[in-house]
Amino acid sequence: MKSTRKIRVLIAKPGLDSHDRGAKVVARALRDAGMEVIYTGLRQTPEQIAETALQEDVDIIGLSILSGAHKALFPRIMELLEQKGLTDVMVFAGGIIPEEDVLELKKLGIKEIFGPGTPTETIIQFVLENIPERT
C-alpha cells in the first residue's frame, strides 16, 4: 500500500490582533508548497491553539502576533503543548516581535522568528528543512 505522508501545519493567531494579512500570506505560501494548512482565524486563546494542534495532529505550528503580547502568550502556548505531549511539534513565529525578545522566545523552544518583510520563500525553505521526524 502506498504511504503518503502529508505535512500538516497549523497557522494560528493568539491574542487580540485586528488583522491577519501576514498569517494568510504565510498560510497560502505553505499551501502552495504542497502542505495542508489549518487556519483558525483571529483571536485564539493559547488553550484553543494547543488543543487544535492536538486534534489536527499537526507537524508544525506557525504563530503570528502583532499586538506585542508574545511574551505573555507564547510561554503559555509552549507550556500547554508540553502538557499535551506535543513535544515533537516544531513551532515557529512571525509578526511584530522586537529583536531583544527573540533569544528569550527561542529559549522556550520556538525554532525561528520571522519579522515583517521576510520573503515567503525563506519561510517555506525553513519549514521544509525543519520538518520533525515521526515514528
Binding site: K6, A27, R28, T40, Q48, D57
Partner: protein, 318 residues
C-alpha cells in the same frame, strides 16, 4: 504492545491524542492503517453519522457549529470531520472550516478534525469513511461530516453517513439548479439556511416544487426546514428532524441500508486490493511498461491494452 495496539487502545478509551494520531495514520494510508481499522472495527456502529452537504457559501460550517452546541446542550458527545479541497496542482490545501467552530475546540466532549480531499472526488476524502470509524470507536454519540462545497454530483457522503442534510441558501441558484440530479436525490432533510434573507420562502417553495414532481410515495417524507445559522434559529427543530430520521432508519430500513453500505465497502475494498495486486504483478512481469510505450506510440488504445493484460490473468486464475 505495538504502537498500533497502543493507539487503538487509546482510541477505545477516548484519548484525544490517540484519536488524532489514528486519523493521521489512516489519511497517510500506511500499512498500519489496515491493522488499526481491523482492531477498532468491532467497536464501531454506535454513533449516529450525519452528512452535511451543499454549495459553497450556504453556511455549512456556521450551521454545524450551532448543531454541535445544540447536541452538547442535550449532553451528547460530538465528532466533526470537515473536508476541504486539495489543490490538484500543488497537493496543498487550505483548511479553514474550523474558523467558524473554534469556540468548540476546548470542549473535551467535542473532537474536530479538518481533512483535505487529497484529490478524492465526490466531496469527501478517501480517508473520511475510516476516520468516522475512529470517532465512532472513541465513543462519540454524534458524528458530523461536512463535505466540500458541493455542486450536483458530489454525493459520496451517502456512503459514509446515515442521515444526509442538504443545505441551501437563498440567492445561490434557482429552481433549475435545484432540479439537477444528485444532491436533490440524496437529501433526507433539506435546510434553507440564511432564512433571514429575502427570498428564503421562495427557495423553500422551489425545493418543495421539485420534491412534489417525484410521484413515488416514499416511506420517509423529506422535510424542508429554515434555519439562520448566525443566530441559531431553527436549529433545535433541525435536530428534532434528524432524531426523527434516526428513529425512522432504525425501524424501517436500518438493516437494509446497513447491508447496502457493507456491500459497497466490501466491493470497494476488493477492487482496491485486486487492482493493486494485479498491477504489481503486471509490473513485475514487465508487460505493463511495454504496453505503456505502445499506448504512447498510439499502437494500441488503453482499453484494449487493459483487456490484453487482463485476459491472460483471468485465464490463469481459472
Amino acid at each position: 504492545m505495538t504502537r498500533i495496539d497502543e493507539i487503538a487502545h487509546g482510541v477505545l478509551a477516548g484519548d484525544r491524542r490517540s484519536v488524532a494520531r489514528a486519523i493521521t495514520i489512516i489519511e497517510n494510508n500506511t500499512a498500519e492503517a489496515k491493522k488499526l481499522i481491523a482492531s477498532i472495527y468491532p467497536h464501531t456502529g454506535k454513533s449516529h453519522i450525519i452528512g452535511l452537504t451543499g454549495p459553497s457559501g450556504s453556511g455549512k460550517s456556521t450551521l454545524i457549529e450551532k448543531i454541535v452546541r445544540e447536541y452538547r446542550r442535550k449532553g451528547k458527545t460530538v465528532g466533526v470531520i470537515a473536508v476541504d479541497p486539495t489543490s490538484p496542482f500543488t497537493g496543498g490545501a487550505f483548511l479553514g472550516d474550523r474558523i467558524r467552530m473554534q469556540e468548540l475546540s476546548t470542549d473535551p466532549a467535542v473532537f474536530i478534525r479538518s481533512m483535505a480531499t487529497r484529490n478524492y472526488s465526490g466531496g469527501i476524502a478517501k480517508a473520511t469513511k475510516d476516520a468516522v470509524k475512529v470517532l465512532d470507536a472513541a465513543g462519540k454519540d454524534i458524528i458530523l461530516v461536512e463535505t466540500v462545497g458541493a455542486g450536483q454530483s458530489e454525493v459520496e457522503v451517502i456512503k459514509v453517513a446515515q442521515t444526509i442534510v442538504v443545505i441551501h441558501a437563498p440567492g445561490l441558484g434557482d429552481e433549475i439548479q435545484a432540479i439537477k440530479a444528485g444532491l436533490m436525490e440524496i437529501a433526507d432533510i433539506f435546510v434553507v439556511n440564511k432564512a433571514d434573507r429575502e427570498n428564503a420562502d421562495k427557495a423553500v417553495m422551489d425545493i418543495q416544487a421539485i420534491l412534489q414532481l417525484d410521484n413515488k410515495e416514499p416511506a420517509w417524507k423529506t422535510p424542508i426546514l429554515k434555519t439562520t445559522a448566525l443566530t441559531g434559529e431553527g436549529v433545535p427543530q433541525l435536530i428534532e428532524k434528524i432524531e426523527e430520521h434516526r428513529c425512522f432508519l432504525e425501524k424501517e430500513i436500518g438493516r437494509k441500508r446497513s447491508l447496502g453500505k457493507a456491500e459497497t465497502e466490501l466491493v470497494e475494498a476488493i477492487k482496491e486490493k485486486v487492482t493493486i495486486s494485479i498491477i504489481d504483478e503486471l509490473k513485475r512481469e514487465g508487460k505493463f511498461e511495454e504496453l505503456l510505450k505502445k499506448i504512447v506510440e498510439r499502437e494500441i488504445d488503453p482499453a484494449s491494452a487493459a483487456e490484453k493484460l487482463l485476459h491472460g490473468k483471468f485465464k490463469k486464475a481459472k
